[in-house]
């Protein structure tokens, strides 16, 4: 039994403790520690991804120890292609955010970001529900405090809203799992998936709660609500634009790049394996949720005047495609395996690519905010490309990546999702294409208003990216090209896992 996942998970926490010991005024040292630790975690995560036996797939790096046996709570960790994908993403975006934080690093900020990374690593590897839930909910604490670092009263309100909303949703999920535990006597997600596979889970639930004929739906609804808030699924999304807009940009990078992925991960790890039959049954409302999420958020983005809110709604839209792919897979349990694998592979690609691209976009908006003294309205600028051509060019690449331009990373995921989803569920997929169109409209409007036109007189001395800032975004931009041209790098990591995961 290896300990690699435990070591990886607690490495950032160790860093956070180290940060606690360093005096607050030594900001350079604090930042250096944060960056070194997160880069070490990245190297570690990459190492695990490379060593992972792709041909075999399935769960590897297993760690299973008794924890609270009387409650069936174990310390149970393992990673498959899906976990590794998200571990690498988390390990990648965290140092990216630390670099973006730059000279505004504080003891509290660096420490909290490191602590957040631990909760993320934990969420993506824990396979006992209680163990998993602990990390899932604990992540709210550093996130809450980080959003509050935005400073304004609005930021505090947004942080509180975020915390209460997601905590409440978490309780709904917890109740669902307590009911499942009552019925089956286990919190082990692999065992539960095994039961569901043999169609025993539903019967067990019905048997355990004879007075409640709707128990399956109720439990499903609780878990769905818990995850839907996190993803988020419209209409459970209202905490998101406020949180993303009011948090400091590097924090928004973490929120959109990583925290929103916990929701989709939950769908893949918790909901779909446990309730495949029910989800097939409920395909109409589920497609409804996906389509509303995709189209509504795209249209809402079109109506925003704040750059951060535009990207926030665009994030909801992008995760909507993940939902479309997932629901297409669950709607067709006996459909052609290649189409289902295509959609599922697409979902995983989309998770990673969206994390990368949206984080980069928030990073760029952070750069703009620093130069404009906090202004970030759609109409506050004009012609910036003249004053800051490098910023305009690189952010343009990130925007076109978000738009799904072939050759950049965004395309491959969306292509595979639509390839699979269209074969499985043509009508919802064709309708979802409206979202692709509207995305182009609001992203090009953003470019038009901010970067083109005559240079606004107020911004004549708008400085271009510094060398440090260029190095901050260069790896992300390079990855957009690499993953756009050769998405097989990622698919090879999880294709086998996807075949295992298909319900």
């Amino acid at each position: 039994m290896s300990n690699s996942l435990t070591i990886l998970t607690f490495l950032p926490l160790l860093g956070a403790l180290l940060v606690v010991l360093i005096p607050a005024r030594k900001t350079v040292l604090l930042r250096a520690v944060g960056i070194v630790i997160t880069l070490a975690a990245l190297a570690f995560a990459l190492g695990l991804a490379f060593q992972y036996d792709r041909a075999a797939g399935g769960l590897q790096y297993l760690e299973q120890r008794a924890w609270i046996p009387s409650l069936h709570i174990e310390y149970y960790l393992a990673a498959d292609g899906l976990s590794l994908l998200l571990l690498v993403l988390a390990a990648l975006v965290t140092p990216f955010a630390l670099f973006a934080l730059g000279d505004r690093s504080t003891k509290l900020g660096v420490g909290l970001i490191l602590a957040l990374e631990t909760t993320l690593f934990g969420t993506f590897t824990a396979l006992n529900f209680i163990h998993w839930f602990l990390y899932y909910e604990l992540s709210l604490v550093p996130a809450f405090l980080l959003i509050r670092m935005g400073g304004s009263a609005k930021a505090t309100a947004a942080a509180t809203q975020f915390f209460i909303y997601t905590l409440f949703a978490g309780f709904a999920m917890l109740l669902g799992f307590l009911a499942i535990h009552q019925a089956t006597g286990t919190f082990n997600l692999s065992e539960l998936a095994g039961l569901a596979h043999k169609a025993k889970l539903g019967h067990a639930l019905s048997a355990a709660f004879p007075g409640l004929p709707w128990i399956n739906l109720l439990v499903f609804g609780g878990i769905f609500a818990g995850l839907a808030v996190k993803v988020p699924v419209v209409p459970f999304h209202t905490w998101l634009p406020d949180a993303y807009a009011e948090a400091p940009a590097p924090v928004s990078m973490l929120l959109t790049g990583l925290l929103s992925k916990m929701g989709v991960y939950g769908f893949l790890r918790l909901l779909i394996p446990l309730f495949p039959g029910l989800m097939q049954h409920l395909q109409l409302p589920l497609f409804g949720f996906a389509l509303v999420t995709i189209i509504y958020s795209a249209l809402a983005a079109l109506g925003q005047k704040d750059l951060k809110r535009i990207v926030a709604y665009s994030s909801i839209n992008h995760l909507g495609y993940c939902l479309l792919g997932l629901f297409a897979v669950t709607a067709t349990l006996h459909g052609p395996v290649n189409d289902r694998a295509a959609a599922m592979n697409g979902v995983l690609l989309q998770i990673f690519n969206h994390g990368l691209t949206a984080a980069a976009l928030f990073c760029f908006i952070g750069f703009i905010e620093r130069r404009s003294g906090g202004l970030r309205g759609l109409n506050d600028f004009g012609g910036l490309r003249d004053a800051a051509p490098v910023l305009a060019g690189l952010m343009g690449i990130a925007l076109f990546s978000s738009l799904g331009l072939p050759g950049l990373n965004g395309f491959a995921g969306e292509f595979l999702i639509f390839k699979g989803a269209f074969a499985l569920a043509p009508l919802p997929s064709a309708l979802a294409a409206i979202g692709l169109f509207v995305t182009a409209v609001f992203l090009l409007t953003l470019i038009e208003r901010v970067f083109t036109g005559p240079l606004d007189a107020g911004w004549l001395t708008f400085p271009d990216l510094t060398v440090g800032e260029r190095f901050t975004v260069a790896p992300a931009i390079a990855l957009m090209f690499v993953l756009g041209i050769c998405p097989q790098i990622l698919i090879a990591l999880f294709n086998q896992t996807v075949l295992h995961l298909l319900p």
Partner: protein, 674 residues
Amino acid sequence: MENIVIIAAVLVPLLPLLAAGLTAFLKREQRGLSASLVIGAQAIACAISFYLLLFAMVEDKGEPGIVRSFFNFSWLTFGHETLQLGLLLDPLSAGMAAMVSFVSLLIFIYSLGYMHEDRNFTRFFTFLGLFSGAMLGVVLSNSLLLTFVAWELVGLASYLLIGFWFHKPEAAAAAKKAFITTRVGDMGLLIGMFWLYKASGTLLFYDHGAGCLEQTALASMAKIGFCGMALSNVIALLIFCGAAGKSGQFPLHVWLPDAMEGPTPVSALIHAATMVAAGVYLVARVFPIFTATGPHSASLLAVAGIGAFTALFAALIAVAQVDIKRILAYSTVSQLGFMMLALGVGSVGAAMLHLLAHAFFKALLFLGAGSVIHGIHEEQDIRNMGGLWRKMPVTFMTYTVGMLALAGFPVLFSGFWSKDAILHAAHLWPVSQAPFYMAVAAAFLTAFYMTRQMAYVFFGDYRGNAAHPHESPDVMTIPLVLLAAAALLMSLPATPAWPWYEEFLAGKTPALELAALWEPGFLHIATTSLAIVFFGIGLGWLVYGRRALGDVDPLQAAAAPLYRALANRLYVDELYHATLVRPLRGVGYVMAWVDRQILAGIVRAVAWVSFLVSAISNGMDRFLINFGFDSSCDALREYGGGIASCEGGRVQGYLRVLCIGIVALLALVGWLLA
């Protein structure tokens, strides 16, 4: 495909792309390096394209029919499936690649002069390289997916180049409009692509019998029905949506005239010669899907109808435009309509012939227009020109060649033969003669508006404000001369006597057959088109050539309302603005409002309700439930205080009580014993 040919075919799109990638890292000052990298790469790509054309021409046939060499490679593996991309060399792609790389090269060289003073010269060549690489990718692709990828990159290059002078709000708006309008069509193409993938299990065009354009796939697609149509036709129509967007077909033509906000070399290369023809090329490429249910399939009917309508509609609008480039832009839309019409009536040969001929003479016209604009200091309004033939002889001569080719002037000019081929094909179409008559009318209008333009620009007296109109430098005029030569030479492989190009496309060995020129079918059409052209040029000269032109167009004086409607592009833009653009934006605002006020409002309401509930329960606790408890507590405390005072800690007190107690106890014991 042989190895050397594979390498050659890969290099053709890759070299310009690599050059673009390298120049993206150059600084603004490294102008020479940027231009030489891109032009050098393009020159090599052009040479290789001609090598490929030669290869396609002399390739050992072995058997009759079209020889196709392709090279497929895997891009993705998901599930148990491998998705392949590939490159394809056949007469269609070889001819197109040679044209694209050649015209691109000439226009790149011309840009050296035209863009000489531009601040972002370095970046301009980066974008040109990106365009050329992507366009050659569209041409040489053997997979609809690769075509789509390159197609979108071409769209990006077009977006970047239309908006190249981004400080002009009109240019930025035009760039956005172009991208979004073509994306409407691309959504159709995208869905068509997924449907094709689903129906045929592959996106490769040719793959030893397993490709989506090959018999097995076509036969199965023709059999399945969808809403009363064969699936092949549904897919074909969806693909045509993309083609119509890119090739400016009605109703998606609105972006193309606005695209003239880009620098003139861009208008010439992208928005006249090559990219806008990509739609025509795409339809020609996937033509087997269109004809899967026969030569008069529903999808082809739509193509013919839209093509003929666009040809006539755009030609009408061109009559009343005053911007030299917009006239040419509407003429491009109209000519693309001709090509679509040819495809619709089943003649890929005529369509592609017209595409190639048009590429040369329209690039020539645009570069000529650029030379004029350059020579009179960025003036584009033809009412402010005039008499330029004296000042700009080379431009004038070459422009005349282009104009006559576009008008379809007989015999010497390539446009005559290609347009004739289209008219001929339309005439032979058994379904309806309407497209033929629409095309004839459009051909007449073409001759008319080009004569009008010539009269305004080159003849009469100079009416401009800029002093000293001058001829352009050699670096700009030499490409003009070369393109003029090409516009003339393209006649050679295009005549019915030696229909080299069409035979080459069809995989036949071309033969010289002079008798074909006297065939009654051909003669009939040729004389008709001859009459139209002379009538158009004659009428144009009558109206515009014989009088001094002022600000008021003679046509405007004669029929003001009609002229106004045409000058306003028949109000299509206004219609879209009112019915699509503003409603979409409005819906966006409504959604944003709903989000903030209603959905977030519900959350706020929940929060307020919880606050309210907690306030109420707080009150209940304090004043209702706790009331009795609190008061008994208070009473208890009071009495307790009294009792506690007994235990004040003073020993005397305790002793006193103790004494009293003992006395009392003794008294009690005594009383009991007694």
